[in-house]
């Protein structure tokens, strides 16, 4: 941990950044600018975009500081301000010590010349002297795993090799403050680990790291403090776990709104007008085949109508976002214009790639139909939604025992399952590991 009162390595004090949109002026030419004498005035923005608005934070020397937020929230702008690439419109940015920015890896590489020459030039661009590069050259090449290819022109490199070399040069600049913008995706698993190890080494040596990333687990694991930027403003700051938690909650709320809108649109498209009268009875096989072919939609003979479908969480609130293992309730509001005796309620859960995860109906579950008239409510309670993270779609239907549908809603409802655990597949059985004999494992802190 960082000692209290460590000197600030990076200070942002009420920083605002307003980008000018030069776009509208694209076709105004030098000639017209000269003629109207507006050369200077034209450089004044007509439209602006506020990328950062009154953002303040202090990164103590020796700490690792995470910046999270959605795309376009101002994270990268903040990083560029700290790197000194752009200047703040208002407020103050102060940095103590040599900065190296891992923003664009290998930005200055020239494709025609060899990796070796590029290392030297890139190093000089990043502020090293020739002698310093000479001293670190072998280390740089070895870290980039390019010993065999270092004399080949950079244009022959794969994009992975290119990025690795760029990363390696930048990190060997040995800065006091390292700025990292989402560059951990530069290589294969092995290289990513090496990068993380390198960051760890930086940390141990008391260097400051400012990390902009979408990898929340990295922030939780790695950072001493984090800030969450949203539309250019600070939404939360402090303990990374807490900040990440707040951010995740907000993302879920957004997703919820998005899924609700998607559902509404899907239902609208499959509205009354497109409902097809499906006459003949279908045998099970044919119905199953249809299930996998048909896209989203709604059809049926009418008579019984499913008017509303709602997913509820354990507090009884309508939602589209669940966590793995949470209870969930599916509520169908049904309307029968005439009394019917032959009816079955069914549901199907599908994964995003169309695999039927689970399907059942009242008949399978031994509920035999007696009568249905007027309005009614049908609930299916799921004790634990043991699905892995992903987006799922729902079929709901009311049909006759022979399969002929009154009202079939095909894939019209979407819900999302979130999980902190990155397991794979579809179904997450409740499980527990146990070990005995000559095996020992430690639980990760």
């Amino acid at each position: 941990m960082i000692a209290e009162g460590a000197p600030a390595a990076i200070t942002l004090d009420g920083v605002g950044k307003i980008y000018r949109r030069y776009g509208g002026r694209q076709f105004s030419t030098l000639k017209s600018a000269l003629l109207s004498g507006s050369l200077v005035r034209n450089l004044q923005p007509s439209e602006t975009f506020t990328a950062l608005d009154d953002v303040s934070f202090v990164v103590p020397a020796g700490s690792t500081f995470g910046v999270i937020g959605r795309n376009g929230s101002g994270k990268s702008t903040a990083l560029k301000l700290v790197a000194g690439i752009t200047k703040p419109t208002s407020g103050r940015v102060a940095v103590n010590g040599r900065v190296s920015a891992l923003i664009e890896l290998g930005a200055g590489f020239h494709p025609e010349i060899s990796g070796r020459e590029n290392v030297f030039i890139n190093g000089i661009m990043l502020g090293l002297t020739k002698r310093e590069i000479q001293k670190r050259f072998d280390e740089i090449v070895e870290f980039a795993e390019l010993t065999e290819f270092i004399d080949a022109p950079v244009k022959a490199y794969s994009s992975g090799m290119y990025m690795r070399l760029g990363f390696s040069v930048a990190i060997h600049v040995d800065p006091d403050v390292l700025l990292v913008d989402e560059v951990l995706a530069v290589g294969d698993e092995g290289f990513t680990h090496k990068c993380l190890d390198k960051f760890g080494e930086f940390k141990r040596r008391g260097k400051t790291i400012l990390l902009v990333t979408h990898s929340l687990s990295l922030v939780e694991r790695f950072c001493d403090e984090a800030v969450w930027l949203d539309a250019g403003r600070t939404r939360a700051q402090g303990d990374p776990k807490r900040v990440v938690g707040a951010y995740v909650t907000d993302v879920e709320r957004q997703e919820e709104r998005f899924l609700a809108a998607t559902d509404a649109r899907a239902r609208e498209e499959a509205g009354e007008g497109t409902r097809q009268a499906d006459a003949g009875p279908l045998d099970a096989g044919e119905a199953a085949a249809n299930m996998f072919q048909a896209g989203e939609g709604r059809w049926g003979s009418g008579g019984v109508e499913i008017s509303h479908v709602t997913l509820l969480n354990d507090q009884g609130q309508a939602t589209h976002v669940f966590h793995t293992g949470e209870p969930a309730t599916l509520r169908l509001q049904v309307n029968a214009s005439r009394a019917v005796q032959d009816f079955v309620f069914g549901i199907g859960i599908f994964s995003a790639d169309g695999v039927c995860v689970y399907g059942t109906n009242t008949e399978i579950d031994d509920h035999l139909a007696d009568s249905l008239q007027g309005s009614a409510e049908v609930r299916l309670e799921i004790e634990a939604l043991d699905l892995v993270e992903g987006t799922y779609k729902l079929d709901v239907a009311v049909h006759k025992r022979d399969g002929a549908p009154y009202d079939y809603h095909r894939l019209l409802y979407t819900f999302r399952v979130k999980s902190r655990v990155k397991d794979t597949g579809i179904y997450r059985p409740r499980h527990r590991w146990s070990f005995s004999g000559g095996v020992r494992l430690r639980h990760k802190a």
């Binding site: 030069y22 790197a83 752009t86 930005a107 020239h110 030039i121 990043l126 020739k130």
Partner: protein, 262 residues
């Protein structure tokens, strides 16, 4: 501005390695490689010599052999015009550096000017060889002025390059405009003719800065006799320092907009 200008010498190493990279990269992959820097001006001179001796024989009194006369002015002009053409686009093509790396942007146009200066230098041995071939040995005492002419051209070109590179970021038209302006400028400058042939345009020649560079080169390398144009050259030198400062000032003023507008 003065603060940034004072930083410039610190970028020596960077400028040096970028110029070296520019030269290396240009001929990388070609068989003759660096040798092209000699071959290009040699071919140019041979072609001109052939054309203006046999096809469009230029027998104007006083500027014979014509190809040699023309070459004395053409070589520095090539440096000047290529440097300007390149630096006009250099901030845009180097956008990656300006946007993603903390990088002193003024280095880029300076590198363009210097890289082309090296090509100019590599053309000089060819010129020298032909001077000897035509037994046209220049006055050695006058040759002391030669570095001064080069220095004036360097400062003048760098000032313009800084100005143009900064403005082109905001007005992309400059790149196309420039190509045409340079063509006109070339013919308006006594390079393929001697200014003495068109006395009536003296005023226009005098206000054209490159006239004085071209005449200086011609007097030093081609014509025998004392270097009489030195007053003009010194005046141009002073003006060039002013131009350089003005160019740097504009560049510095617009610097913060580069990362966003490139």
């Amino acid at each position: 501005m003065w603060h940034n200008l004072a930083q410039l010498p610190r970028y020596r190493g960077l400028i040096h390695s970028l110029v070296a990279r520019e030269l290396k990269a240009r001929y990388r992959g070609s068989i003759l490689g660096f040798f092209w820097s000699f071959v290009n001006p040699l071919m140019l001179l041979l072609i001109y010599n052939f054309v203006f001796t046999y096809l469009l024989a230029n027998r104007t009194e006083g500027i014979q052999p014509y190809a040699l006369f023309m070459f004395a002015g053409l070589l520095p002009w090539t440096w000047f015009s290529s440097a300007l053409n390149e630096s006009a686009g250099v901030l845009i093509s180097g956008g990656n550096l300006i946007k993603k790396v903390l990088f002193p942007a003024e280095v880029l146009p300076i590198v363009s000017v210097l890289a082309n200066m090296v090509h100019f230098f590599l053309g000089l041995p060819i010129l020298a060889a032909f001077l000897i071939w035509f037994q046209h040995v220049p006055d050695l005492a006058d040759l002391a002025w030669f570095p001064v002419v080069i220095l004036v051209q360097l400062v003048f070109t760098t000032g313009l390059a800084l100005l143009l590179s900064a403005l082109t970021v905001h007005f992309r038209d400059i790149r196309d405009l420039l190509a045409n302006v340079l063509t006109f400028w070339f013919f308006a400058t006594p390079i393929i003719y001697a200014y003495t042939q068109f006395r009536e345009y003296k005023f226009w020649f005098d206000i054209n800065p490159f006239t004085h560079l071209a005449i200086s080169y011609q007097e030093l390398l081609f014509f025998n006799g004392p270097f009489g144009h030195w007053r003009w050259l010194v005046a141009l030198g002073v003006a060039s320092v002013g131009l350089f400062l003005a160019g740097y000032w504009v560049f510095d003023r617009l610097r913060d907009s580069f990362a966003e507008a490139v």
